[in-house]
Each structure stands twice: as structure tokens, then as C-alpha cells.
Amino acid sequence: MKILVCVSKTPDTTSKIAFTDGNTKFDEAGVQWIINPYDEWYSLVRAIELKESNPAATIHLVTVGNADAEPIIRKALALGGDEAIRVNTDNSDAYYIAAQIAEVAKQGGYDIIFTGKETIDYNGSSIGGMIAELVDAPYISLATKFDLNGNTATVVREIEGGEETAEVALPVVVSCQKGMAEQRIPNMRGIMAARTKPLKVVEPAAIDALTSIASFELPPAKAGVKLVAPDNVAELVRLLHEEAKAI
């Protein structure tokens, strides 16, 4: 069985969000880069668990990014995974990225493709669905559980106001979120092993991006909190009703 785990580089969750060059570029000064948490904690760790119960399985990691993405893909390899592929290009259009991963996926013949439910920078929740369409496979989004029984996967996914259980035959593309697995920390053995695991760099396929970011904007600052005395909650109710019109 072959599993492909899609990994993206994102700013750390505590990063200060600011922009440069006339608000056209994300300000990377002082930013710590991490593996997108959904890719790491849920999809990669679930893939590792599947390999632990089926040692014949292989896990490949794929990232679309320039050489700056190599430290995070080494960290992903330290957690687990047999080898990594980096598609050497820098682009933020979801279709462009998904099409690059779909090219890798078609050549690899994978049974399962895992993505995170979204990246914490662009929040598109789009890559998994696009890959699935481009490789013509079923897609389970927002999965909280994934179990295998032979060639059939049983999954639990989020729906409005609850969850549903579904069955689907492999190959399948799955976007993963909380519930799939528990966060792990790479150990020293993993970190040492990751240094020598293959990291293949491939050049991008010729694909036209369908969107581009023109500019960024920060939300207006809050006017400041209006404090109400704890013994005067009636005043809070009045403010919420008359001023904020929220109740």
C-alpha cells in the first residue's frame, strides 16, 4: 500500500501577521516556519499509524515550494515517512499547487492521499478536492477518523451539526482534521534517520495559475473594550441590546 501525504510550510500559529511592498507580500521578518498543523498532527501522524499496523506500507511526502521548505520537510521525515518529493516552485494559487501534486500522484500510483483540512495561512480548504478531481478519485473532506479494512476505508467526517460515517473503496483522497490522530514529537532516532532519507526535487509541470493575490489588508483595529462592573450586568444586557443590537 502506498500513501502520499501533502505537506505545506506555514507561519507559526503565534506569528505576527504583517505585510510589505505596499501590502502585496507577507512580511516574513522574524517568522518561524512550521509544518501546517493539519498536515502534521492529523494527516501525517495517521499515515504513520497506518504504516505501524501494516509495515509493508510506504509513505511518501510531497511539498510544493522552493528550497526554503526543506527544513520542514526534513522535520516531517523525522516524524515518519520513507521519502519526500519537493516540487521546486513558489506559487500560492490552489489549482497550480494541486495540479503539481496530481502530477506526482499520477506517477506514484497511491492508494491513499492525505491532506490537512486547510492551511493556516490561505485557509482555502481546496487542495484535497482539486487533487481528487484531477486524479479522478473519490474525496472525503474534513475527516475525523480513517480506518482500513482491506481495500475499503471507513471514515467519519464532519457535517453541519454533527458527523457521518461513510465507506469508500481505495484509492481515495482525504482531508484530515482533529480527531484523526494525536500530535507526536520527533525523537532523536527519527531526526538522525531523516537526514539520510531521500528528498527528491522535481521541476514543476507547465500549468497556468488561475488566481493571483493582488494585495493584502489588515482588519481595522478594535475600538477598545468597554468594561462593565461585575455587579451591573443589566448594563451589559442594555449595551448588547441597544448599542450592539446583538441580542
Binding site: 500559529t13 503565534t14 501577521i17 498543523p37 493539519y38 490552489a94 489549482y95 494541486a98 483540512k117 493556516i120 495561512d121 490561505y122 485557509n123 482555502g124 480548504s125 481546496s126 478536492g129 482539486m130 481528487a132 478531481e133 473519490p138 472525503i140 474534513l142 467526517r157 464532519e158 457535517i159 453541519e160 458527523e163 457521518e164 460515517t165 461513510a166 465507506e167 469508500v168 473503496a169 488561475l210 488566481t211 493571483s212 493575490i213 493582488a214 494585495s215 493584502f216 489588508e217 489588515l218 482588519p219 478594535k222 473594550v225 468597554k226 468594561l227 462592573a229 461585575p230 450586568v233 443589566a234 451589559l236 444586557v237 449595551l239 448588547l240 441590546h241 450592539a244 446583538a246 441580542i247
Partner: protein
């Protein structure tokens, strides 16, 4: 030419987030000087013609039981066929659970640029540019769509539903519907509660409540307000509350009209899940809690005293109103 809006339904009832998408799509059609058309899949008990009051002129329906549950592959195939049949230049979804499963597939199928998580109508004077939330609500991006066909998924609770007069023409759409590959075997809806992502008001608790046995005061307040309940990550991780209530960067992201945070300090990861809320109220006994900086209204005080008083005061206001 048309703007095609996907109308999402659950158990035959059209979702609130789809009414927002319908209003948005109808306003966009007016802006582009074209017609607004809807597409609805599966068996629906709601009166579809009445959706005309949101500005949609025609609704295509594919009433096939195979579409009563979501198989993203099948949905994308049918919606793409509808887009072609109605010569759609823009396809609009809600960025809800179904939209997240389907919009990207439709975009890839139609080779259409996708703006996922839009929060305003496109600028169409010079090109086609859509504002969307990025960095988990901490910023916005203006995204240029370069392809002839565009797909937009609209953040829930970010566009006001407007109902006027009007009736839509409902027509059955003849399309190929394949056998679904994803078979839903069980549905587990949390009954008797307001779905978190659809809620107008959310009441949320953190570690300040000290233990799951103290949640009663929060549940009473939520009940009085008709609110959904939520919690911070440590509370979910400690299993004081179910995981699906965890709001934050790695949990559920919400954008209600009113978010009331009780005993939550307001770590940056929590704020990322709630900062699109219109009004934020923070109740915390620590005046230094970072959440106060992101709040509109606050009470520095003991939740165990303040919250029951707040519930009583709301009851009193409602009785007087």
C-alpha cells in the same frame, strides 16, 4: 451567461448558509447584468419556488435519491453539468462543509479560478477581484481571478440575507447521475443543540470554569439566548466538553453575531477561530487576560457570580420587551 448558485440542503431543508449564498449570487448577477440561477440536488421538502425572494430567477433541480448524501465526486460532476447548461460565468457556493468538499472539485473540473472563503462581492470594474479571509481571519487578501469561469465560496455569516418579493421558476435538469462511490452508513447529528457554525450567538467556556461539573451556568445562558455552546482547546483536550465544540485555529472557526467567552484567557490560537465574530463579550476574573484586547465588551469578575446574573438579566429584558 449566468451566475449559478449551489443550494445546499440537509434532510430536505435548505441551509441558512445557502440563503446567504443565494443573496450574494443574486447581487453579483445584478452587478454583472446577468441572471441568477440556482442548482439543488436530491429530494427537497422546502418550497423551492419561494427562494425567488432571495433574487434567484430560475432553479434547476436534480431530484435523484443518489444525491441525498454528499459524494463530492458525483456532486461536482452534476454541478459542472448544470454550470455548462446554464452558461455560468460564476459558480457560487457557501464555504460550509459541503462547499469545502465540492467547490474545489468543480473549480478543477471547469478549470475555473477559485476564491475559497470570500467575504465580499467581487470588484468587477477592472478585472475580477474578490476579498477573502486569510491567516485564519487575521487578515484579508484581494484575489484576482484570471480564468473565464470563476468559482467563489462564501464564508458563512459574512453576507446578509435579504428577502424581498419574487418566485423562481423550478425546472428539472436532465443530467447524468453516476452511482455514488461514497456510501454513508450512519449519520450522527447532535440533536437539540444549535449547530456551532450556523449559530447567531455562541457561548464559550474555558479553563476558568474549573471543571465539566460547572458547565450548567453556561448551558443556562446559552439556552436563554438560543445560542450554540463552544469551548477552548484545553477544555476539549481534557474531555470536559466534546471535541466538536473546540473553537480556535485548529478547531472550528466561527463567525457569529455575538461571541461570549467565559473564563477563556484568549490565546492567539483561540482568537484565530473567533475573530470574525461581529461582537465579542469577555467575562474573566483576570483583568490582564489578552482576550479583553480583542473584545467589544467585558466584565472583570468571577464567572460563577456574573454568568447566572447575566442569564437572569436577559430573562428580565425579554420579559419586559
Amino acid at each position: 451567461m449566468s451566475v449559478l448558485i449551489f443550494i445546499d440542503q440537509s434532510e430536505g431543508i435548505v441551509k441558512k448558509s445557502s440563503l446567504e449564498a443565494l443573496t450574494y449570487g443574486a447581487d453579483l448577477a445584478k452587478q454583472l447584468g446577468t441572471t441568477a440561477e440556482g442548482i439543488v440536488l436530491g429530494t427537497v421538502s422546502d418550497d423551492l419556488a419561494a427562494l425567488g425572494k432571495y433574487g434567484v430567477q430560475k432553479i434547476h433541480q436534480v431530484n435523484n435519491a443518489a444525491l441525498n448524501t454528499v459524494d463530492a465526486q458525483l456532486y461536482a460532476s452534476v454541478i459542472s453539468q448544470a454550470a455548462t447548461a446554464s452558461s455560468a460565468s460564476v459558480v457560487v457556493f457557501s464555504h460550509n462543509q459541503t462547499g469545502k468538499a465540492v467547490a474545489a472539485r468543480v473549480a478543477a473540473k471547469l478549470k475555473a479560478g477559485l476564491v475559497a472563503g470570500a467575504c465580499a462581492l467581487p470588484e468587477t470594474n477592472n478585472g475580477f477581484s474578490v476579498k477573502k479571509t486569510v491567516f485564519s481571519g487575521k487578515a484579508f487578501a484581494h484575489v484576482n481571478v484570471l480564468s473565464p469561469i470563476k468559482v467563489i465560496s462564501l464564508n458563512p455569516n459574512s453576507y446578509k440575507t435579504v428577502a424581498t418579493e419574487g418566485t423562481a421558476v423550478v425546472e428539472a435538469l436532465a443530467v447524468t447521475v453516476a452511482e455514488p462511490k461514497v456510501k454513508v452508513t450512519a449519520v450522527n447529528k447532535i440533536t437539540g443543540e444549535v449547530p456551532l457554525t450556523e449559530a447567531d450567538i455562541v457561548v464559550s467556556g474555558g479553563r476558568g470554569l474549573k471543571g465539566p461539573e460547572h458547565w450548567g451556568i453556561l448551558l443556562d445562558l446559552a439556552k436563554e439566548l438560543g445560542a450554540a455552546t463552544a469551548c477552548s482547546r484545553p477544555v476539549g483536550d481534557a474531555h470536559w466538553r466534546p471535541h466538536h465544540e473546540h473553537v480556535g485555529q485548529t478547531g472550528v472557526q466561527v463567525a457569529p453575531n455575538l461571541y461570549i467567552a467565559i473564563g477563556i484567557s484568549g490565546a492567539i490560537q483561540h482568537l484565530a477561530g473567533v475573530n470574525r465574530s461581529k461582537v465579542i463579550v469577555v467575562i474573566n476574573k483576570d483583568p490582564e487576560a489578552p482576550f479583553f484586547k480583542a473584545a467589544d465588551y467585558g466584565i472583570v469578575g468571577d464567572a460563577f457570580e456574573v454568568v447566572p446574573q447575566l442569564t437572569a438579566a436577559i430573562q428580565k429584558m425579554k420579559a419586559g420587551a
